[in-house]
């Protein structure tokens, strides 16, 4: 008991990695992706693969006759799940879990500001996900695939999308401040 009291009285350490060291490591991972596969990292592309695969399984006729799915197949040969980003995202889940386990951060919880309820947090999480899902298709990639990976290869479109993402969030930050601060 006494020892516990003492540890909680210690000045709090964040338990997170120094962000600049983390950034260099992130950069090396992205460099490795480009060196190995000739492409950057991504996340939304894996979701798109799963969406195409499930639609083809559940409604093959619809998928075969609908433009979006036809265009996907013109660009991607083979099974939509046999995709670089799908394997990479499985790794992300494993790596995130391993890091959380090592740091003692594995816990089921809804993280939210004390000023709002869990329910409100979850409603906005769902809405945010929907917007991000639609936006990532228009942007041809998300913060990882378009913004970060695009910056590394100096893609004009990637850098434009990056500025639009952060600009869009800052533009609405005032209206959603209660959710966060």
């Amino acid at each position: 008991m006494k020892e516990k009291m003492e540890t909680t009285n210690q000045p709090k350490k964040s338990g997170y990695m120094n962000p600049y060291i983390g950034g260099v490591l992130l950069g090396l991972v992205l460099l490795a992706a480009n060196f190995v596969a000739g492409r950057g990292l991504g996340a939304s592309g894996a979701i798109k693969s799963v969406v195409v695969a499930t639609t083809q399984t559940v409604a093959p006729k619809y998928a075969a006759s609908t433009k979006y799915f036809k265009e996907y197949h013109e660009e991607h040969a083979g099974s939509p799940l046999k995709n670089w980003l799908v394997f990479q995202m499985l790794g992300v889940i494993a790596g995130g879990f391993a890091s959380g386990a090592l740091a003692g951060r594995l816990k089921f919880k809804v993280e939210h500001s004390p000023k709002i309820t869990s329910r409100r947090r979850l409603v906005f999480a769902l809405l945010g996900g929907i917007f991000f899902g639609v936006g990532s298709q228009l942007g041809r990639g998300c913060t990882s695939g378009s913004a970060l990976s695009g910056m590394a290869v100096l893609s004009f479109g990637g850098i434009i999308t990056m500025m639009a993402i952060f600009g869009g969030a800052y533009a609405l930050a005032y209206f959603f401040r209660k959710n966060w601060i």
Binding site: L41, G91, G95, G168
Partner: protein, 196 residues
């Protein structure tokens, strides 16, 4: 030499296996930096935690410089590295919509998977939203198609657009990043939050 998969130095299956390994590194680093927490990520937009800016730009600059040096040493052929295409209107509109999603949901797709991996229920719900969004786009594609395909500029590099060499643009970006890091440290002191 590189990219290994494009030059057929490694097989397609090896490439998929390495994708998994690279993904582990990606997820591990994101989680170690605190990107599994929406309140840490959202700090960027209110100034109380600028970790996103620091990690994101350090990562981008590191990879960019790494690729330029690899190219200089002849280790990677930059002509074979994928450069994201530019469809200008769609890039701007899509980016803004993603930004709205970011401030509402507190995650982006990659970070939401990291959060879900350590048990964040808000991250799991965000992922449900992502799927709804992508299905909506897929099923409503005729509605988005004109916007999606307009203003196709090919795959230009920003250095080419500005009539600079890659190296000079890289140097400018490094200086800009250092300036932003300096500002970020100052902002965190100005808008501190003890507990969040």
């Amino acid at each position: 030499m590189g990219p290994l998969a494009v030059n057929d130095i490694i097989s397609s299956n090896t490439n998929f296996f390495l994708a998994f390994v690279i993904g582990i590194g990606f997820g591990f680093v994101l989680e170690q930096c605190g990107f599994s927490s929406s309140r840490k990520l959202a700090g960027l937009f209110y100034g109380y935690d600028m970790v996103v800016l620091k990690v994101f730009f350090t990562g981008g600059v590191t990879a960019m410089l790494g690729l330029l040096f690899f190219s200089l040493f002849g280790w990677v052929d930059l002509n074979l590295v994928y450069v994201n295409p530019t469809f200008l209107t769609s890039a701007i509109v899509g980016g803004l919509v993603m930004g709205f999603g970011f401030i509402m949901g507190g995650f982006c797709p990659g970070t939401s998977f990291c959060g879900a991996a350590i048990g964040k229920i808000d991250a799991m719900i965000f992922i449900v939203g992502l799927f709804i969004g992508v299905y909506f786009f897929a099923f409503g594609y005729p509605m988005f198609e004109t916007l999606y395909k307009s203003a196709n500029m090919g795959s230009p590099k920003i250095s080419t657009m500005l009539d600079l060499s890659d190296g000079v643009f890289a140097l400018i970006l490094v200086v800009v990043a250092l300036g932003m890091f300096y500002a970020a440290e100052w902002v965190e002191k100005k808008f501190p939050r003890e507990e969040y």
